[in-house]
Subunit: 292 residues, 2 copies
């Protein structure tokens, strides 16, 4: 996996340069607003979505410069969703990426506004691309749909609804995984496909949805098996709060079996794509056995 | 003012038909997400932003069909801002438009998501206009800027920061009024100006900023002088919570004097616009003496 780690580091560094440039130019007032935005943006994180977007761009020969603002928007949306998800009335997490959550530092009111601000700014970034042509508008719309009330927000709403609900089913869990997690990861791959005039659009979309479910499944497994120092967030919370996870529904072994099946599916889909898909193959295997 | 009321009613009815069509087509799941969105969208309200946009469109001969989706986006953003602003950690309002606030009905977690959902959907609506040409992108960007971290969100952040702060100054109050209230009202007028290739852009922008401050000033005065049944929301809260308002800074008479001065400014700006500006003149006078 050294090859994967090298590539992930390279992509993340490239993206962090884009993010730093963006962050340095944030001059909004009052200062606490700028500080709260920067705090969460600069809290680190694996930058998995931007990295996947850049890797898909390399696969499809889409220039990095074409993707940078889309990757930025995706990460802004991801970061806002974490801030709001950590709020006391939602997932109630005091830690994120090894640091106190936004609302623990700035207060709940400011955290709500920081999330709103990042979401709105994501669309400022996306609209700035919309004069370049119809493909760019379509790509922005794909991100918007993936993040919205038929995507991530629907998944979060279902997650909240079925918390502590004894009637959790495989169908509902699938709905939560697909919407809360998989659609935004899929957007990272579909945006380059759209900008490449639809090349491997269906394959990358299908891969993204399956990989996204694998990613969430292994996240749930990690909540049981992981530890705070490698994850940077609270562990064992799901069980403690009786959350709707695959581990709760299928047991730990059942969840792992399903992760194996999803990983197989992902690899099969990649077989149908010409070109160097080794980054994605390694990403699937890494995710299957990940410790953080 | 019968003429104004007739026009406001007509515009609001036109807009409500657009909103109803949008609302009827909301099919997101789980049901509580759809319900919480519809609850706040259909809670009534004066629809002042859409009405101002339609009136400016009539003044500049921009067809209604060109404006409907922009008006919808503006109202979606306005409604999300009310939901988040009413949250316990923000303004902590139990009532809005005469009905229990969103979080009182659906819980705080769902209210956070409902606000996020409306904001995201506003950009879905705006992006749908972006293939029509550069003016449409520029109009969408103007709304985005007005709503964002250099606009409404900055104003809300300042409002939160200076709550109960004894060092409130005229400069800070002006910053809050302009950003929290005036910029979104200005966007309602500037969008038609952009679609009319910039006709009366500067005049309408200047009018919007002054009118917005007048609107917020009279809102603060109403909080002292109004009553629940005509306002549909709690009154006397500002003083009780020692909020930063013009009444706190200048006293009731001082605030009223400043409202008079702003109304004069607004009328002078309208004098520089050819065409029938009677709707806006009447709106200024109505706002100056408004009871709700």
């Amino acid at each position: 996996m050294n090859d994967l780690n090298e590539k992930l580091t390279k992509y993340a560094e490239e993206f962090n340069a884009v993010l730093r440039n963006f962050s340095d130019n944030l001059k909004c007032k009052p200062q606490i607003l700028a500080d709260s935005l920067k705090y969460s943006l600069e809290a680190g994180g694996k930058r998995i979505r931007p990295s996947m977007m850049f890797a898909a761009g390399d696969l499809l020969h889409v220039e990095r410069a074409e993707l940078e603002q889309f990757a930025l928007a995706l990460e802004l949306i991801h970061t806002y969703s974490l801030i709001h998800d950590d709020l006391p009335e939602m997932d109630n997490d005091d830690f994120r990426r090894g640091k106190p959550s936004n609302h623990k530092v700035f207060g709940t009111g400011n955290a709500v506004l920081a999330g709103d601000g990042l979401l709105n700014t994501a669309y400022s970034v996306l609209l700035s691309q919309c004069r370049k042509g119809d493909n760019y508008v379509t790509a922005a719309e794909f991100i918007c749909d993936s993040a919205g009330i038929y995507g991530m927000i629907a998944g979060q709403s279902a997650d909240l609804l079925y918390e502590q609900n004894k009637e959790l089913s495989e169908e509902i869990l699938g709905y939560i995984y697909e919407n809360k997690t998989a659609k935004m990861l899929t957007a990272a791959l579909v945006v380059p496909a759209i900008l490449a005039d639809g090349k491997y659009y269906s394959e990358l979309k299908l891969f993204g949805m399956n990989f996204g479910c694998l990613f969430q499944l292994t996240d749930d497994i990690l909540d049981v098996e992981g530890n705070f120092s490698s994850l940077g967030k609270s562990v064992g919370k799901d069980e403690e709060e009786d959350k709707c996870t695959a581990v709760k529904l299928f047991g730990l072994d059942g969840a792992k079996l399903r992760a194996d099946i999803l990983a197989d599916k992902c690899l099969k889909i990649l077989n149908g794509i010409d070109g160097d898909t080794s980054f994605f193959e390694q990403l699937v295997l890494y995710t299957l056995s990940r410790k953080s």
